[in-house]
Symmetry: C2
Subunit: 211 residues, 2 copies
DNA sequence: AATCATTTTAAATATTTGTTTAAAAAAACT
DNA sequence: AGTTTTTTTAAACAAATATTTAAAATGATT
C-alpha cells in the first residue's frame, strides 16, 4: 500500500512511538527504559515497537542519532558563522543555554550513553568530523597573532566554554538538592551563571593590557 | 560467633563484594549492573550479595554513600582551610583534577544516579549541609569588599570552577572519540586544560585594574 | 462486494532478572 | 571429641524482560 501522507490532525504511529521513546529514553536511559514503558507512554500495543523498529536497540539508535544531531548541529553552524570572534563566543554560549533549557536532560543522556557504549558514536561520526576544521579555530589563531586576545589553544577554550554551560544542566538535580532550589530559582541561577560565563571568558580573552 | 578481626592476607567477603560492586556500579550504573555481574566480579556465589547486604538496592546505597563522601569530603575541607583565596582556588582545582584522575567515572556515575533518582541524595544530606556555610564564601565577600577581586557571587564562581573541571571527565569518552585522542593524549589535554582554568579564573578575579 | 496488503492486538516465547531456600561446608565454641 | 553458629553453595523461585506469533481489525484497490 502506498504511504498515506495526509492526516495532519492525527499522529502517525511511528511518530508516536519515536516521541514516546525519546521521552522515556531521555528520562531513564537505555538500561532503565523498558519496551513496556515506551509502549505505555505512546499509548500503543507493545508489539508495535518491534513492528516499526525491529528491536529496542534499533529504536534507541534512531533516537540517539537524532539527539546527537540536535546536540551538535546548532553549535557547528555558529562556529562557522561569518561574525566576529567576540560575538561568536557570546552566541555560542547563548545558543547552548537555550538548547539546554529546552532539553534539560539531553547532555546527561548523551554523556551517559556514550560512557556506557562509546561505539555508538561511530554511527554519528558525520557530525563529529565537522568539528575538526571550523572558522572559529581560524579566528582564534588570527586574533592571537594580532594580539587581540590572550594566547590560548582554541580546543581548550572551546572545552572550557562548553563545560561551563553544559555541566550546569548535567548537575541540575544535584544542584537543586544541595542548594534547595525550586525550578524557578534554578532558572534564575542559570541566567546569572550565563552572565558570569560570558563575562569571565570575554574578559579573560580580550582584556590584554596585562601580561 | 564473634567477628574475626585478624586475617590481613585474605580479603573479607563483605569487602570483596563492596569492591566488586563499586567497580560494576561505576561502570554500568544501577540499572545496567546485575547481581550476577557483581558476584562474578567478586568471584563469589550470587546468594552471598544478598546474605551480606539485603538487596541490590541496599548494596547500591552502601556504595553510593561512599561515593558521595568521596565526592564531597576533599572539597569541603579545602573550602574551609585557613589559606588565601587565591591559593584556595588553585588548590580546589588541583584537588578536583586529582580526584577525577583517580576516579574517572565518579562524576558521571553520581550525576546519572541523582538524575534518575534524586531522593537518593537525601540520605547523604549530611555532607551537603556542610556546603552552605564555608570559609570560602566569607573570603570571597571580604575580597570583594576590599576591592581585591571583581564582584562575583561565590556560588556562581564555585559552580563555574567545578563545572570546568568535572565536565572534562564527564565528557571524556565523547571527547576522546571526537578528537581521536588516546588515553595518554587525553591526559596531556587535561593538564593543559587545568592550566587554562586556573589562569582564566584567577586572571578574571584578580586583574581588577579595569572596570 | 471481494480481495488484498497493512496495521493492530492478545497471547505466548525463551531469557534474564532479583531474591529465596535448604542443604552443605567451614569455623567457633564447649 | 561433639555441638552450635556462621558462611557458602547449588538450585529453585516468581516476576520482568525483549521479542515473536498468529489471528483479528483496518484500510485500500479492484
Amino acid at each position: 500500500m502506498k504511504r498515506d501522507m495526509n492526516c495532519p490532525p492525527f499522529q502517525k504511529t511511528e511518530e508516536k512511538i519515536k516521541e514516546a521513546a525519546k521521552k522515556v529514553f531521555l528520562e531513564k536511559g537505555f538500561d532503565g527504559a523498558t519496551s513496556r514503558d515506551i509502549a505505555e507512554a505512546a499509548g500503543i500495543n507493545i508489539a508495535l515497537t518491534n513492528y516499526y523498529f525491529r528491536s529496542k536497540e534499533k529504536l534507541f539508535m534512531n533516537i540517539f542519532e537524532d539527539m546527537i544531531q540536535l546536540f551538535f548541529e546548532g553549535s557547528v553552524q555558529i562556529l562557522n558563522k561569518p561574525i566576529s570572534l567576540r560575538d561568536k563566543i557570546v552566541e555560542l554560549i547563548e545558543h547552548d543555554f537555550e538548547l539546554m533549557k529546552k532539553n534539560p536532560n539531553l547532555v546527561i543522556f548523551i554523556m551517559n550513553e556514550v560512557h556506557r557504549n562509546p561505539e555508538r558514536l561511530v554511527k554519528a561520526i558525520g557530525y563529529i568530523k565537522q568539528l575538526h576544521h571550523t572558522l572559529f579555530k581560524v579566528q582564534v589563531q588570527e586574533a592571537i597573532d594580532k594580539g587581540e586576545i590572550r594566547p590560548v589553544n582554541s580546543l581548550n577554550l572551546m572545552t572550557m566554554i562548553v563545560a561551563s554551560v553544559q555541566f550546569l544542566f548535567v548537575s541540575k538535580p544535584m544542584h537543586m538538592q544541595i542548594w534547595q532550589m525550586s525550578e524557578a530559582e534554578f532558572d534564575q541561577f542559570t541566567i546569572n551563571q550565563k552572565r558570569l560565563i560570558i563575562d569571565m571568558v570575554t574578559s579573560y580573552l580580550f582584556e590584554t593590557e596585562k601580561a
